[in-house]
Amino acid sequence: MKLTMPVLALVVAVLLVASQALYTVDQRQYAIRFQLGEIIETQSNAGLYVKVPIMQNIKFYDKRTLVLDNTEPDRMTTSEKKPLLVDFFVMWRIVDVKQYYISVAGDEEAARRRLSQTVRANLAEEINKRTVHDAISGERDKIMSTTRQKADQDAKTIGVEIVDVRLRRVELPPDVTAPVYARMESERRRVANELRSQGQAESEKIRADADRQRTVILADAYRDAQKIKGDGDAKASAIYAQAYGINPEFYSFYRSLEAYKATFRNKSDMMVLDSASEFLKYMRTPSGNPAPKAAK
């Protein structure tokens, strides 16, 4: 028992001293050890470190990559004097914690303000050199990388590295979007009209083609029909000629009789007959001789 009390006291004392003299640096942190306000040492590796109690104190700073976001989009002007709203964010981290502490007194807010100003100024300058189109698409990468380089130069003076500058949003201010919408609308109208008239043109073309086909088909058919009819007529003629050619004189007679029959078919046809005609010869005399004539 006599032995245990002093042992316990010793243990407690050792723990007390240890708690004051030891400190850990987290994986995520830098540490600066001050002795009466003067920087003695900076630690960038995590682990357990020793300090002199009371005399020395420690401050921690973030070692991670931090993100800086401008709260409101900035209005910047392009080379053709058009306004653009640019929203960006910056990835940055402390690389030289001593420099950082000296420059901005370890105040992250101050550092952010400083970086934000630098980046904004550089970005505005880059945008100012370029057209809207370049800022949106063509040279977006270049704007970002140039701005990063320039801002990085400046950031080094406060012990900070600019890892990246990204354009989060590039947009037109609300007061200039109206013409854009109007243009988009008119463009669509153009497209719509084009489509419609194309449709009508095609429709007309199809109709005209159909009409043409109809005409051609009918004409072809007419031609063929006439050919067939002509063929028929020719054949018929040949047949007639062949038959009637056997005795043309009799044909003439026979055909005339047919024709007379055909022409005088109607009762209203008026015939004036001379009694001297051959047909009526027996009507005059039973002998059929033109006796009265002879008598005369």
């Binding site: 030891l22 964010f89 949106i136 669509r188 419609r196 007959l273």
Partner: protein
């Protein structure tokens, strides 16, 4: 990645083995005491050695037991459980030592080691341009400029998980916020390089893919330990203000189709009909041909047959044919017979009156013949048929048809 380290995987597999854990404890204690700087090491060997040394020598000492108990409780505080889908990230005096797999684990108790648990395989989603539902738009995020300086309305979601727990914990502050920022900048860049029509219609898939790739590149550059699984475009459309015009353009496309179909319908109506008409013409022509030829043959045959008979007795046949004809001709027509022999040179024959009279009726028939009857003794030969043309309209019709026949 340290997760794939073979030594550590062996540690993670299998059921919790108390022996192994105890061995692990011993190993770590030894490791710690052998490695650590002298000042804290001395301190700990004192207490540890005291605890370990006193137990066998003074088993009955109350203080010893107390110390041993305190020590045990202290050691026990190092146990922790890593849930499935999580990883434990262990730091020793703030310095990263290892990442542990799911299961019961032990680390050196406070203040030496600490563990942080990270949701490893849980998929997180961020939504850009909308919140919760695509209907709930956030215009400030959704409207983007395209290469041709048009504005489109784009809503998308990013699904990501953590591929390296230690990177996620140690390299960046607010990694989830960074994912959102990176998503916006990547999409802005991809859309900014695309034409509006491409972004709106055919290029959607490609845009999502490009944005996904760009995001992953950036997140890897910042060593965030985040893996982008998928960028899904929820909605890509023209802004509300010009939506009507775009809809109309789509309608116009359909109108074009409609016009085309109408034209085709007309064609499909007209052309077959023309074909039908054409075949009718052909058939008629064929019919005509057949008719003409057959008739010719018929006529020719009839003529030939008569000719045969005629050549047997020409005079008689000729006479007969003539008389037959005359009979039929004179028999069917109205007739007036004159006798030339009267010698009356001034014969007045009022044909027009005769024709008129032959129309009105039977009563006139008698008188009609009388004036012509220059020789009453012989008398006319009044056709019995003449008065029978009683119906005036018929006779007029017949007259008209005759006139027409003449003009033809």
């Amino acid at each position: 990645m340290s997760l794939n380290d073979p030594g550590k995987r062996g540690n993670s597999g299998g059921p919790p083995d108390l022996d192994e854990i105890w061995r692990n404890v011993n190993r770590r204690l030894n490791e710690l005491f052998n490695r650590k700087p002298p000042s804290p090491g001395d301190n700990n060997t004192d207490s540890g050695g005291g605890g370990g040394g006193t137990r066998p020598r003074l088993p009955l000492s109350g203080v010893g037991i107390l110390i041993a108990l305190v020590l045990l409780v202290w050691l026990a505080s190092g146990f922790y459980i890593v849930d499935e889908g999580r990883r434990g990230v262990v730091t020793r005096f703030g310095k990263y030592t290892e990442t542990t797999q799911p299961g019961p684990r032990w680390h050196l108790p406070f203040p030496v080691e600490a563990v942080e648990l990270v949701d490893f395989s849980q998929v997180k989603t961020i939504e850009i341009g909308y919140r919760n539902s695509p209907k709930n738009k956030v215009d400030k995020e959704a409207l983007m400029l395209t290469d041709d300086e048009n504005i489109i309305d784009i809503q998308f979601a990013v699904q990501y998980n953590i591929k390296s727990a230690e990177d996620y914990l140690f390299n960046v502050r607010k990694p989830d916020l960074i994912v959102a920022f990176v998503a916006q900048t990547a999409m802005g860049e991809v859309v900014g390089k695309a034409k509006m029509d491409f972004a709106l219609y055919e290029g959607r898939e490609q845009i999502a893919k490009s944005a996904e790739k760009l995001m992953q590149e950036m997140l890897d550059r910042y060593k965030t330990g985040i893996y982008v699984q998928k960028v899904t475009l929820q909605n890509v459309q023209p802004p509300d203000k010009v939506q009507a015009a775009f809809d109309d353009a789509v309608k116009a496309g359909q109108d074009r189709e409609r016009f085309r179909n109408e034209g085709q319908a007309y064609a499909n109506d007209v052309v077959p009909r023309a074909r039908g008409n054409a075949s009718r013409l052909m058939e008629e022509a064929n019919g005509y041909k057949a008719e003409v030829v057959e008739r010719a043959e018929g006529d020719a045959s009839r003529f030939k047959q008569i000719l045969v008979e005629y050549s047997k007795a020409p005079a008689v046949t000729r006479e007969r044919l003539y008389l037959d004809m005359m009979q039929s001709v004179v028999g069917s027509a109205s007739k007036v017979m004159m006798d030339q022999k009267t010698g009356n040179n001034l014969l007045y024959l009022p044909l027009d009156k005769l024709i008129q009279q032959s129309g009105p009726g039977t009563a006139a028939a008698g008188s009609a013949t009388t004036p012509v009857e220059t020789n009453p003794s012989r008398g006319g030969v009044p056709s019995p048929e003449t008065p029978s043309a009683a119906d005036p309209s018929r006779s007029r019709d017949a007259l008209r048809s005759r006139e027409r026949g003449e003009t033809r």
